[in-house]
Protein backbone atom coordinates (compact mmCIF):
# COMPACT_ATOMS: atom_id res chain seq x y z
CA UNK A 1 0.00 0.00 0.00
CA UNK A 2 2.63 2.59 -0.84
CA UNK A 3 0.49 5.22 -2.52
CA UNK A 4 1.79 8.73 -2.30
CA UNK A 5 -1.38 10.00 -0.69
CA UNK A 6 -1.85 12.87 1.63
CA UNK A 7 -3.91 11.22 4.32
CA UNK A 8 -5.20 14.56 5.52
CA UNK A 9 -6.73 15.48 2.19
CA UNK A 10 -10.20 14.20 1.36
CA UNK A 11 -10.11 11.13 -0.89
CA UNK A 12 -12.83 11.95 -3.31
CA UNK A 13 -14.74 9.08 -4.91
CA UNK A 14 -16.87 9.38 -8.00
CA UNK A 15 -20.04 8.72 -9.89
CA UNK A 16 -22.15 5.76 -8.98
CA UNK A 17 -23.59 3.89 -11.95
CA UNK A 18 -25.29 0.51 -11.87
CA UNK A 19 -26.78 -1.85 -14.44
CA UNK A 20 -28.80 -4.90 -13.43
CA UNK A 21 -30.52 -7.59 -15.50
CA UNK A 22 -33.80 -9.03 -14.39
CA UNK A 23 -36.26 -11.54 -15.73
CA UNK A 24 -37.33 -9.74 -18.90
CA UNK A 25 -35.02 -6.75 -19.24
CA UNK A 26 -32.53 -4.48 -17.54
CA UNK A 27 -32.56 -1.64 -15.02
CA UNK A 28 -29.91 1.08 -15.23
CA UNK A 29 -29.37 3.48 -12.35
CA UNK A 30 -27.13 6.44 -11.58
CA UNK A 31 -26.64 9.31 -9.17
CA UNK A 32 -26.66 12.87 -10.48
CA UNK A 33 -23.60 14.65 -9.17
CA UNK A 34 -21.00 16.08 -11.53
CA UNK A 35 -18.07 17.39 -9.52
CA UNK A 36 -15.05 19.49 -10.40
CA UNK A 37 -12.67 18.70 -7.58
CA UNK A 38 -14.76 19.51 -4.51
CA UNK A 39 -17.16 21.84 -6.31
CA UNK A 40 -20.41 20.29 -7.45
CA UNK A 41 -20.73 21.54 -11.00
CA UNK A 42 -24.14 19.99 -11.65
CA UNK A 43 -26.25 18.44 -8.88
CA UNK A 44 -28.98 17.12 -11.17
CA UNK A 45 -27.19 15.74 -14.19
CA UNK A 46 -28.48 12.86 -16.28
CA UNK A 47 -25.79 10.26 -16.60
CA UNK A 48 -27.92 7.72 -18.44
CA UNK A 49 -27.93 8.57 -22.13
CA UNK A 50 -29.75 7.01 -25.02
CA UNK A 51 -27.86 5.26 -27.82
CA UNK A 52 -30.83 3.73 -29.65
CA UNK A 53 -34.49 3.07 -28.88
CA UNK A 54 -33.56 -0.02 -26.95
CA UNK A 55 -29.99 0.59 -25.73
CA UNK A 56 -28.87 3.09 -23.10
CA UNK A 57 -25.48 3.76 -21.58
CA UNK A 58 -24.46 4.89 -18.08
CA UNK A 59 -21.55 7.31 -18.24
CA UNK A 60 -18.82 7.81 -15.66
CA UNK A 61 -15.39 9.33 -15.57
CA UNK A 62 -14.54 12.43 -17.54
CA UNK A 63 -17.85 14.01 -18.50
CA UNK A 64 -16.50 15.31 -21.80
CA UNK A 65 -14.95 11.99 -22.82
CA UNK A 66 -18.03 9.98 -22.00
CA UNK A 67 -20.28 12.41 -23.87
CA UNK A 68 -18.18 12.36 -27.01
CA UNK A 69 -17.94 8.57 -27.00
CA UNK A 70 -21.72 8.32 -26.62
CA UNK A 71 -22.22 10.76 -29.49
CA UNK A 72 -19.97 8.80 -31.84
CA UNK A 73 -21.58 5.48 -30.92
CA UNK A 74 -25.06 6.92 -31.40
CA UNK A 75 -24.01 8.08 -34.88
CA UNK A 76 -22.52 4.71 -35.86
CA UNK A 77 -25.48 2.80 -34.46
CA UNK A 78 -27.91 4.98 -36.37
CA UNK A 79 -26.17 4.16 -39.65
CA UNK A 80 -25.90 0.50 -38.71
CA UNK A 81 -29.65 0.36 -38.00
CA UNK A 82 -30.42 1.87 -41.40
CA UNK A 83 -28.07 -0.55 -43.14
CA UNK A 84 -29.38 -3.59 -41.30
CA UNK A 85 -33.06 -2.63 -41.55
CA UNK A 86 -33.78 -3.59 -37.95
CA UNK A 87 -32.79 -2.35 -34.46
CA UNK A 88 -29.18 -2.92 -33.49
CA UNK A 89 -28.46 -5.49 -30.79
CA UNK A 90 -27.06 -4.54 -27.39
CA UNK A 91 -23.92 -6.53 -28.18
CA UNK A 92 -23.20 -4.43 -31.25
CA UNK A 93 -23.68 -1.20 -29.29
CA UNK A 94 -21.34 -2.41 -26.56
CA UNK A 95 -18.72 -3.46 -29.10
CA UNK A 96 -18.74 -0.07 -30.78
CA UNK A 97 -18.24 1.57 -27.37
CA UNK A 98 -15.43 -0.86 -26.68
CA UNK A 99 -13.68 -0.16 -30.01
CA UNK A 100 -13.59 3.56 -29.31
CA UNK A 101 -12.48 3.08 -25.71
CA UNK A 102 -9.76 0.60 -26.55
CA UNK A 103 -8.30 2.28 -29.61
CA UNK A 104 -8.12 5.63 -27.84
CA UNK A 105 -7.17 4.40 -24.42
CA UNK A 106 -4.29 6.85 -24.19
CA UNK A 107 -6.60 9.83 -24.58
CA UNK A 108 -9.85 8.81 -22.94
CA UNK A 109 -10.80 8.38 -19.35
CA UNK A 110 -14.30 7.01 -19.11
CA UNK A 111 -15.99 3.93 -17.76
CA UNK A 112 -19.30 2.98 -19.32
CA UNK A 113 -22.05 0.50 -18.65
CA UNK A 114 -24.10 -0.39 -21.73
CA UNK A 115 -27.50 -1.92 -21.12
CA UNK A 116 -30.53 -2.70 -23.21
CA UNK A 117 -32.96 -5.19 -24.61
CA UNK A 118 -33.10 -6.90 -28.01
CA UNK A 119 -35.32 -9.62 -29.39
CA UNK A 120 -32.54 -12.19 -29.78
CA UNK A 121 -30.90 -12.26 -26.36
CA UNK A 122 -33.31 -10.29 -24.18
CA UNK A 123 -31.92 -7.97 -21.53
CA UNK A 124 -28.13 -7.68 -21.38
CA UNK A 125 -25.58 -5.60 -19.48
CA UNK A 126 -22.05 -5.00 -20.76
CA UNK A 127 -19.39 -3.27 -18.69
CA UNK A 128 -16.78 -1.27 -20.62
CA UNK A 129 -14.40 0.07 -17.96
CA UNK A 130 -11.26 2.16 -18.41
CA UNK A 131 -8.98 0.76 -21.06
CA UNK A 132 -11.65 -0.77 -23.25
CA UNK A 133 -12.34 -4.25 -21.92
CA UNK A 134 -15.78 -5.55 -22.74
CA UNK A 135 -17.41 -7.99 -20.39
CA UNK A 136 -21.00 -9.15 -20.26
CA UNK A 137 -22.29 -9.41 -16.71
CA UNK A 138 -25.63 -10.09 -15.04
CA UNK A 139 -25.04 -6.84 -13.12
CA UNK A 140 -22.36 -4.17 -13.31
CA UNK A 141 -21.30 -1.39 -10.94
CA UNK A 142 -18.86 1.39 -11.52
CA UNK A 143 -17.63 4.35 -9.58
CA UNK A 144 -15.24 6.82 -10.97
CA UNK A 145 -13.69 10.15 -10.40
CA UNK A 146 -15.55 12.71 -12.50
CA UNK A 147 -13.98 15.75 -14.01
CA UNK A 148 -10.41 15.85 -12.90
CA UNK A 149 -8.44 19.01 -12.49
CA UNK A 150 -4.89 18.43 -13.67
CA UNK A 151 -3.29 19.82 -10.53
CA UNK A 152 -5.37 17.71 -8.18
CA UNK A 153 -5.32 14.54 -10.23
CA UNK A 154 -3.34 11.49 -9.36
CA UNK A 155 -3.58 8.07 -10.91
CA UNK A 156 -4.66 6.46 -7.65
CA UNK A 157 -7.79 8.59 -7.50
CA UNK A 158 -8.89 7.48 -10.95
CA UNK A 159 -9.06 3.82 -10.17
CA UNK A 160 -12.65 2.81 -10.75
CA UNK A 161 -14.37 1.07 -7.94
CA UNK A 162 -11.94 2.17 -5.29
CA UNK A 163 -13.91 2.59 -2.12
CA UNK A 164 -16.94 0.88 -3.62
CA UNK A 165 -15.93 -2.46 -2.22
CA UNK A 166 -18.94 -2.39 0.06
CA UNK A 167 -21.23 -2.09 -2.97
CA UNK A 168 -19.73 -5.31 -4.30
CA UNK A 169 -20.36 -6.90 -0.92
CA UNK A 170 -23.89 -5.50 -0.90
CA UNK A 171 -24.58 -6.98 -4.33
CA UNK A 172 -23.11 -10.32 -3.41
CA UNK A 173 -25.69 -10.48 -0.68
CA UNK A 174 -28.67 -8.78 -2.29
CA UNK A 175 -28.55 -9.75 -5.99
CA UNK A 176 -30.30 -12.86 -7.15
CA UNK A 177 -31.17 -14.31 -10.53
CA UNK A 178 -34.54 -13.89 -12.09
CA UNK A 179 -35.78 -10.88 -10.12
CA UNK A 180 -38.95 -9.12 -11.11
CA UNK A 181 -38.89 -5.63 -12.52
CA UNK A 182 -39.87 -4.00 -9.23
CA UNK A 183 -37.36 -6.01 -7.21
CA UNK A 184 -34.61 -5.01 -9.60
CA UNK A 185 -35.50 -1.35 -9.51
CA UNK A 186 -35.66 -1.36 -5.73
CA UNK A 187 -32.25 -2.99 -5.62
CA UNK A 188 -30.78 -0.35 -7.89
CA UNK A 189 -32.38 2.51 -5.97
CA UNK A 190 -31.12 1.13 -2.66
CA UNK A 191 -27.61 0.57 -3.97
CA UNK A 192 -27.28 4.05 -5.45
CA UNK A 193 -28.58 5.66 -2.28
CA UNK A 194 -26.10 3.64 -0.19
CA UNK A 195 -23.29 4.82 -2.42
CA UNK A 196 -24.50 8.43 -2.23
CA UNK A 197 -24.47 8.20 1.57
CA UNK A 198 -20.81 7.20 1.66
CA UNK A 199 -19.29 8.73 -1.48
CA UNK A 200 -18.23 12.33 -1.41
CA UNK A 201 -18.53 12.76 -5.16
CA UNK A 202 -21.85 10.95 -5.53
CA UNK A 203 -25.04 12.73 -4.64
CA UNK A 204 -28.17 14.44 -5.78
CA UNK A 205 -31.04 12.39 -7.14
CA UNK A 206 -31.34 8.80 -8.27
CA UNK A 207 -32.33 8.26 -11.89
CA UNK A 208 -33.33 4.85 -13.18
CA UNK A 209 -34.11 3.59 -16.67
CA UNK A 210 -35.96 0.32 -17.18
CA UNK A 211 -35.65 -1.31 -20.63
CA UNK A 212 -37.64 -4.35 -21.70
CA UNK A 213 -39.64 -5.70 -24.60
CA UNK A 214 -42.39 -3.15 -24.01
CA UNK A 215 -40.10 -0.16 -24.18
CA UNK A 216 -38.25 2.26 -21.93
CA UNK A 217 -39.37 3.78 -18.61
CA UNK A 218 -37.49 6.62 -16.95
CA UNK A 219 -37.87 7.21 -13.22
CA UNK A 220 -36.68 9.96 -10.94
CA UNK A 221 -36.24 9.78 -7.17
CA UNK A 222 -35.35 13.08 -5.51
CA UNK A 223 -32.79 13.03 -2.73
CA UNK A 224 -35.25 13.64 0.07
CA UNK A 225 -37.28 10.56 -0.86
CA UNK A 226 -34.33 8.23 -0.44
CA UNK A 227 -33.92 6.27 2.79
CA UNK A 228 -31.39 7.50 5.34
CA UNK A 229 -28.56 5.24 6.27
CA UNK A 230 -26.41 4.83 9.33
CA UNK A 231 -25.69 8.14 11.06
CA UNK A 232 -27.15 10.29 8.34
CA UNK A 233 -29.06 13.24 9.77
CA UNK A 234 -32.70 13.92 9.19
CA UNK A 235 -33.28 17.00 7.07
CA UNK A 236 -33.87 19.87 9.48
CA UNK A 237 -35.52 23.14 8.94
CA UNK A 238 -33.48 26.15 9.72
CA UNK A 239 -33.88 27.63 13.26
CA UNK A 240 -34.96 30.85 11.63
CA UNK A 241 -38.05 29.08 10.37
CA UNK A 242 -38.67 27.29 13.64
CA UNK A 243 -38.22 30.21 16.02
CA UNK A 244 -39.63 32.89 13.75
CA UNK A 245 -38.08 36.22 12.91
CA UNK A 246 -36.86 38.20 15.95
CA UNK A 247 -38.99 41.19 16.87
CA UNK A 248 -37.42 44.53 16.31
CA UNK A 249 -36.36 46.22 19.51
CA UNK A 250 -38.62 48.86 20.87
CA UNK A 251 -37.01 51.71 22.52
Amino acid sequence: MDQKMDFNAPHSMGTTIIGVTYNGGVVLGADSRTSTGVYVANRASDKITQLTDNVYVCRSGSAADSQVVSDYVRYFLHQHTIQLGQPATVKVAANLVRLLSYNNKNFLETGLIVGGWDKYEGGQIYGVPLGGTIVQQPFAIGEMEDEILKNHCSIEHCFPGSGSSYLYGFFDQAWKEGMTKDEAEDLVKKAVSLAIARDGASGGVVRTVIINSEGVTRNFYPGDQLPLWHEELEPQNSLLDILGAPEPMNI
Binding site: Y72, F76, Q79, L84, T89, V92, L99, L100
Partner: protein
Protein backbone atom coordinates in the same frame (compact mmCIF):
# COMPACT_ATOMS: atom_id res chain seq x y z
CA UNK B 1 -28.19 -16.83 -80.35
CA UNK B 2 -29.59 -13.62 -79.00
CA UNK B 3 -28.86 -10.34 -80.66
CA UNK B 4 -25.30 -9.11 -80.96
CA UNK B 5 -25.01 -5.50 -79.88
CA UNK B 6 -22.88 -4.24 -82.71
CA UNK B 7 -20.76 -1.42 -81.45
CA UNK B 8 -22.56 -1.01 -78.13
CA UNK B 9 -21.01 -4.01 -76.51
CA UNK B 10 -17.38 -3.03 -76.39
CA UNK B 11 -17.39 -1.56 -72.92
CA UNK B 12 -19.32 -2.05 -69.73
CA UNK B 13 -19.74 1.71 -69.51
CA UNK B 14 -21.89 1.87 -72.66
CA UNK B 15 -25.65 1.46 -72.87
CA UNK B 16 -27.26 0.19 -76.05
CA UNK B 17 -30.11 2.20 -77.61
CA UNK B 18 -32.64 -0.23 -76.17
CA UNK B 19 -31.30 0.18 -72.65
CA UNK B 20 -29.15 -2.89 -72.21
CA UNK B 21 -25.57 -3.22 -71.06
CA UNK B 22 -24.28 -5.98 -73.26
CA UNK B 23 -21.07 -6.65 -71.40
CA UNK B 24 -23.06 -7.70 -68.36
CA UNK B 25 -25.23 -9.97 -70.46
CA UNK B 26 -22.13 -11.56 -71.97
CA UNK B 27 -20.79 -12.06 -68.46
CA UNK B 28 -23.98 -13.93 -67.63
CA UNK B 29 -23.34 -16.17 -70.63
CA UNK B 30 -19.99 -17.12 -69.12
CA UNK B 31 -21.88 -18.31 -66.06
CA UNK B 32 -24.34 -20.26 -68.18
CA UNK B 33 -21.50 -22.25 -69.68
CA UNK B 34 -20.32 -23.64 -66.39
CA UNK B 35 -21.43 -26.73 -64.51
CA UNK B 36 -24.74 -26.57 -62.67
CA UNK B 37 -24.78 -25.15 -59.17
CA UNK B 38 -27.83 -25.63 -56.95
CA UNK B 39 -28.86 -24.32 -53.54
CA UNK B 40 -31.99 -25.16 -51.55
CA UNK B 41 -33.35 -23.94 -48.24
CA UNK B 42 -34.77 -26.76 -46.14
CA UNK B 43 -36.65 -26.30 -42.92
CA UNK B 44 -33.55 -26.73 -40.77
CA UNK B 45 -30.78 -25.41 -43.01
CA UNK B 46 -29.25 -24.94 -46.44
CA UNK B 47 -27.81 -27.45 -48.90
CA UNK B 48 -25.46 -26.44 -51.72
CA UNK B 49 -24.48 -28.74 -54.57
CA UNK B 50 -22.16 -28.37 -57.55
CA UNK B 51 -21.79 -30.41 -60.72
CA UNK B 52 -18.04 -30.10 -61.07
CA UNK B 53 -17.10 -30.94 -64.63
CA UNK B 54 -13.73 -32.68 -64.73
CA UNK B 55 -11.43 -31.43 -67.46
CA UNK B 56 -8.91 -34.22 -67.21
CA UNK B 57 -8.66 -37.69 -65.69
CA UNK B 58 -5.34 -36.67 -64.15
CA UNK B 59 -7.00 -34.23 -61.75
CA UNK B 60 -7.12 -35.27 -58.13
CA UNK B 61 -10.68 -35.81 -56.90
CA UNK B 62 -11.54 -33.28 -54.24
CA UNK B 63 -9.30 -30.59 -55.66
CA UNK B 64 -10.52 -27.41 -57.36
CA UNK B 65 -13.23 -26.90 -54.81
CA UNK B 66 -16.18 -24.85 -56.03
CA UNK B 67 -17.83 -24.47 -52.62
CA UNK B 68 -16.07 -22.29 -50.05
CA UNK B 69 -16.80 -21.44 -46.45
CA UNK B 70 -16.87 -17.69 -46.10
CA UNK B 71 -17.60 -17.63 -42.39
CA UNK B 72 -18.42 -20.10 -39.66
CA UNK B 73 -22.10 -19.89 -40.48
CA UNK B 74 -22.12 -19.50 -44.26
CA UNK B 75 -20.78 -20.87 -47.51
CA UNK B 76 -20.63 -19.86 -51.11
CA UNK B 77 -20.85 -21.97 -54.27
CA UNK B 78 -19.36 -20.45 -57.42
CA UNK B 79 -20.34 -20.92 -61.06
CA UNK B 80 -18.46 -19.42 -64.00
CA UNK B 81 -14.86 -18.31 -64.33
CA UNK B 82 -13.01 -19.88 -61.43
CA UNK B 83 -10.47 -17.11 -61.00
CA UNK B 84 -13.19 -14.47 -60.78
CA UNK B 85 -14.94 -16.63 -58.25
CA UNK B 86 -11.81 -16.77 -56.10
CA UNK B 87 -11.76 -12.98 -56.00
CA UNK B 88 -15.37 -12.76 -54.89
CA UNK B 89 -14.91 -15.42 -52.22
CA UNK B 90 -11.83 -13.64 -50.87
CA UNK B 91 -13.70 -10.36 -50.67
CA UNK B 92 -16.68 -12.01 -48.96
CA UNK B 93 -14.45 -13.64 -46.36
CA UNK B 94 -12.81 -10.33 -45.65
CA UNK B 95 -16.17 -8.56 -45.32
CA UNK B 96 -17.39 -11.18 -42.90
CA UNK B 97 -14.34 -11.04 -40.65
CA UNK B 98 -14.24 -7.25 -40.78
CA UNK B 99 -17.88 -7.01 -39.66
CA UNK B 100 -17.15 -9.45 -36.85
CA UNK B 101 -14.18 -7.46 -35.60
CA UNK B 102 -16.06 -4.14 -35.64
CA UNK B 103 -19.48 -5.18 -34.39
CA UNK B 104 -18.55 -8.20 -32.30
CA UNK B 105 -21.14 -10.54 -33.76
CA UNK B 106 -21.26 -12.80 -36.84
CA UNK B 107 -22.41 -10.92 -39.92
CA UNK B 108 -26.10 -11.43 -40.68
CA UNK B 109 -26.40 -13.36 -43.95
CA UNK B 110 -28.64 -10.68 -45.43
CA UNK B 111 -25.98 -8.06 -44.81
CA UNK B 112 -23.27 -10.30 -46.25
CA UNK B 113 -25.29 -10.89 -49.41
CA UNK B 114 -25.82 -7.15 -49.81
CA UNK B 115 -22.12 -6.50 -49.50
CA UNK B 116 -21.24 -9.19 -52.06
CA UNK B 117 -23.83 -7.81 -54.46
CA UNK B 118 -22.60 -4.28 -53.93
CA UNK B 119 -19.02 -5.37 -54.67
CA UNK B 120 -19.96 -7.31 -57.80
CA UNK B 121 -22.00 -4.36 -59.00
CA UNK B 122 -19.21 -1.89 -58.33
CA UNK B 123 -16.93 -3.79 -60.64
CA UNK B 124 -19.44 -3.35 -63.47
CA UNK B 125 -19.45 0.43 -63.22
CA UNK B 126 -16.02 1.62 -64.16
CA UNK B 127 -13.72 1.24 -67.12
CA UNK B 128 -10.72 1.40 -64.87
CA UNK B 129 -10.44 1.43 -61.16
CA UNK B 130 -7.69 1.53 -58.59
CA UNK B 131 -8.21 -0.87 -55.74
CA UNK B 132 -7.87 1.90 -53.17
CA UNK B 133 -10.85 3.66 -54.66
CA UNK B 134 -12.98 0.56 -54.37
CA UNK B 135 -13.02 0.81 -50.61
CA UNK B 136 -13.86 4.49 -50.41
CA UNK B 137 -16.74 4.22 -52.87
CA UNK B 138 -17.92 1.06 -51.34
CA UNK B 139 -18.45 1.91 -47.71
CA UNK B 140 -20.41 5.01 -46.87
CA UNK B 141 -19.54 4.73 -43.24
CA UNK B 142 -16.32 6.18 -41.91
CA UNK B 143 -14.48 3.72 -39.77
CA UNK B 144 -12.65 6.22 -37.63
CA UNK B 145 -10.33 3.87 -35.94
CA UNK B 146 -10.51 0.71 -38.05
CA UNK B 147 -8.37 0.56 -41.15
CA UNK B 148 -8.78 -1.68 -44.19
CA UNK B 149 -5.63 -3.61 -44.83
CA UNK B 150 -6.57 -4.65 -48.34
CA UNK B 151 -5.43 -1.47 -50.09
CA UNK B 152 -3.06 -1.95 -53.00
CA UNK B 153 -2.25 0.81 -55.44
CA UNK B 154 -2.46 -0.58 -58.93
CA UNK B 155 -4.20 0.41 -62.12
CA UNK B 156 -6.78 -2.06 -63.33
CA UNK B 157 -8.86 -2.40 -66.44
CA UNK B 158 -12.08 -3.93 -65.27
CA UNK B 159 -14.47 -6.28 -66.83
CA UNK B 160 -17.51 -7.53 -64.95
CA UNK B 161 -17.08 -10.71 -62.95
CA UNK B 162 -17.79 -13.73 -65.10
CA UNK B 163 -19.29 -15.72 -62.29
CA UNK B 164 -22.46 -16.01 -60.26
CA UNK B 165 -22.53 -17.19 -56.67
CA UNK B 166 -25.04 -18.87 -54.43
CA UNK B 167 -24.59 -17.85 -50.80
CA UNK B 168 -26.18 -19.92 -48.08
CA UNK B 169 -25.98 -19.25 -44.37
CA UNK B 170 -27.64 -19.90 -41.03
CA UNK B 171 -27.77 -16.98 -38.60
CA UNK B 172 -30.00 -15.89 -35.75
CA UNK B 173 -32.84 -15.22 -38.19
CA UNK B 174 -32.74 -18.78 -39.48
CA UNK B 175 -31.36 -20.34 -42.67
CA UNK B 176 -31.20 -18.07 -45.70
CA UNK B 177 -30.23 -18.53 -49.34
CA UNK B 178 -29.13 -15.74 -51.67
CA UNK B 179 -27.96 -15.69 -55.25
CA UNK B 180 -25.77 -12.95 -56.71
CA UNK B 181 -25.55 -12.54 -60.49
CA UNK B 182 -22.71 -10.88 -62.45
CA UNK B 183 -24.86 -7.76 -62.84
CA UNK B 184 -24.83 -7.30 -59.08
CA UNK B 185 -28.45 -8.13 -58.31
CA UNK B 186 -29.06 -10.36 -55.38
CA UNK B 187 -32.30 -12.01 -54.37
CA UNK B 188 -33.30 -14.31 -51.58
CA UNK B 189 -34.50 -17.73 -52.66
CA UNK B 190 -36.05 -20.96 -51.47
CA UNK B 191 -34.22 -22.74 -54.24
CA UNK B 192 -31.78 -21.45 -56.83
CA UNK B 193 -29.82 -22.88 -59.75
CA UNK B 194 -27.21 -21.47 -62.13
CA UNK B 195 -25.10 -22.94 -64.89
CA UNK B 196 -25.76 -25.24 -67.78
CA UNK B 197 -28.63 -27.27 -66.39
CA UNK B 198 -30.37 -24.50 -64.50
CA UNK B 199 -33.70 -24.64 -66.34
CA UNK B 200 -34.14 -28.35 -65.73
CA UNK B 201 -32.82 -28.00 -62.19
CA UNK B 202 -35.26 -25.20 -61.35
CA UNK B 203 -38.15 -27.32 -62.60
CA UNK B 204 -37.04 -30.18 -60.37
CA UNK B 205 -36.56 -27.91 -57.35
CA UNK B 206 -40.04 -26.48 -57.75
CA UNK B 207 -41.44 -29.98 -57.41
CA UNK B 208 -39.86 -30.41 -53.98
CA UNK B 209 -41.72 -29.64 -50.77
CA UNK B 210 -38.88 -27.70 -49.18
CA UNK B 211 -40.71 -26.50 -46.08
CA UNK B 212 -41.21 -30.09 -44.91
CA UNK B 213 -37.80 -31.33 -45.83
CA UNK B 214 -34.83 -31.73 -43.50
CA UNK B 215 -31.31 -31.17 -44.76
CA UNK B 216 -30.59 -34.88 -44.64
CA UNK B 217 -33.37 -35.47 -47.15
CA UNK B 218 -32.36 -32.34 -49.03
CA UNK B 219 -28.87 -33.69 -49.65
CA UNK B 220 -30.34 -36.77 -51.37
CA UNK B 221 -32.69 -34.62 -53.45
CA UNK B 222 -29.92 -32.26 -54.58
CA UNK B 223 -27.76 -35.19 -55.63
CA UNK B 224 -30.64 -36.65 -57.63
CA UNK B 225 -31.23 -33.33 -59.39
CA UNK B 226 -27.60 -32.85 -60.30
CA UNK B 227 -27.24 -36.37 -61.63
CA UNK B 228 -30.48 -35.80 -63.50
CA UNK B 229 -29.44 -32.60 -65.27
CA UNK B 230 -25.96 -33.79 -66.12
CA UNK B 231 -25.67 -34.16 -69.86
CA UNK B 232 -23.86 -37.44 -70.54
CA UNK B 233 -23.46 -36.75 -74.20
CA UNK B 234 -21.79 -33.35 -73.98
CA UNK B 235 -19.70 -33.70 -70.82
CA UNK B 236 -18.18 -37.01 -69.89
CA UNK B 237 -17.23 -36.91 -66.31
CA UNK B 238 -18.24 -34.90 -63.31
CA UNK B 239 -17.66 -34.88 -59.59
CA UNK B 240 -20.45 -34.09 -57.17
CA UNK B 241 -19.50 -31.56 -54.50
CA UNK B 242 -21.95 -30.80 -51.71
CA UNK B 243 -22.04 -28.82 -48.51
CA UNK B 244 -24.59 -27.90 -45.88
CA UNK B 245 -25.35 -25.59 -42.98
CA UNK B 246 -28.00 -26.96 -40.67
CA UNK B 247 -28.96 -27.83 -37.13
CA UNK B 248 -27.27 -31.20 -37.56
CA UNK B 249 -23.96 -29.55 -38.46
CA UNK B 250 -24.33 -27.27 -35.44
CA UNK B 251 -25.14 -24.32 -37.69
CA UNK B 252 -21.64 -24.46 -39.13
CA UNK B 253 -20.95 -24.59 -42.83
CA UNK B 254 -19.14 -27.80 -43.74
CA UNK B 255 -18.83 -30.51 -46.36
CA UNK B 256 -21.59 -33.07 -46.30
CA UNK B 257 -20.26 -36.05 -44.30
CA UNK B 258 -18.78 -38.76 -46.51
CA UNK B 259 -21.25 -41.54 -45.72
CA UNK B 260 -24.20 -39.26 -46.41
CA UNK B 261 -22.56 -38.14 -49.65
CA UNK B 262 -22.09 -41.75 -50.75
CA UNK B 263 -25.69 -42.52 -49.80
CA UNK B 264 -26.85 -39.55 -51.88
CA UNK B 265 -24.78 -40.57 -54.88
CA UNK B 266 -26.11 -44.12 -54.72
CA UNK B 267 -29.71 -42.89 -54.48
CA UNK B 268 -29.14 -40.53 -57.40
CA UNK B 269 -27.69 -43.24 -59.59
CA UNK B 270 -30.54 -45.55 -58.70
CA UNK B 271 -33.08 -42.86 -59.60
CA UNK B 272 -31.35 -42.33 -62.95
CA UNK B 273 -31.51 -46.01 -63.78
CA UNK B 274 -35.18 -46.06 -62.95
CA UNK B 275 -35.76 -43.17 -65.34
CA UNK B 276 -33.71 -44.84 -68.06
CA UNK B 277 -35.58 -48.08 -67.59
CA UNK B 278 -38.91 -46.38 -68.41
Amino acid sequence: MSSIGTGYDLSVTTFSPDGRVFQIEYAAKAVDNSGTVIGIKCKDGIVLGVEKLIASKMMLPGSNRRIHSVHRHSGMAVAGLAADGRQIVARTKSEATNYDSVYGEPIPVKELAERVASYVHLCTLYWWLRFSEIDSHYHFKLYFFVFFTSITYCWQFHRPFGCGVILGGYDRDGPQLYMVEPSGVSYRYFGAAIGKGRQAAKTEIEKLKLTDMTCRQGVIEVAKIIYGVHDEAKDKDFELEMSWVCDESNRQHQKVPDELLEEAKAAAKAALEEMDAD
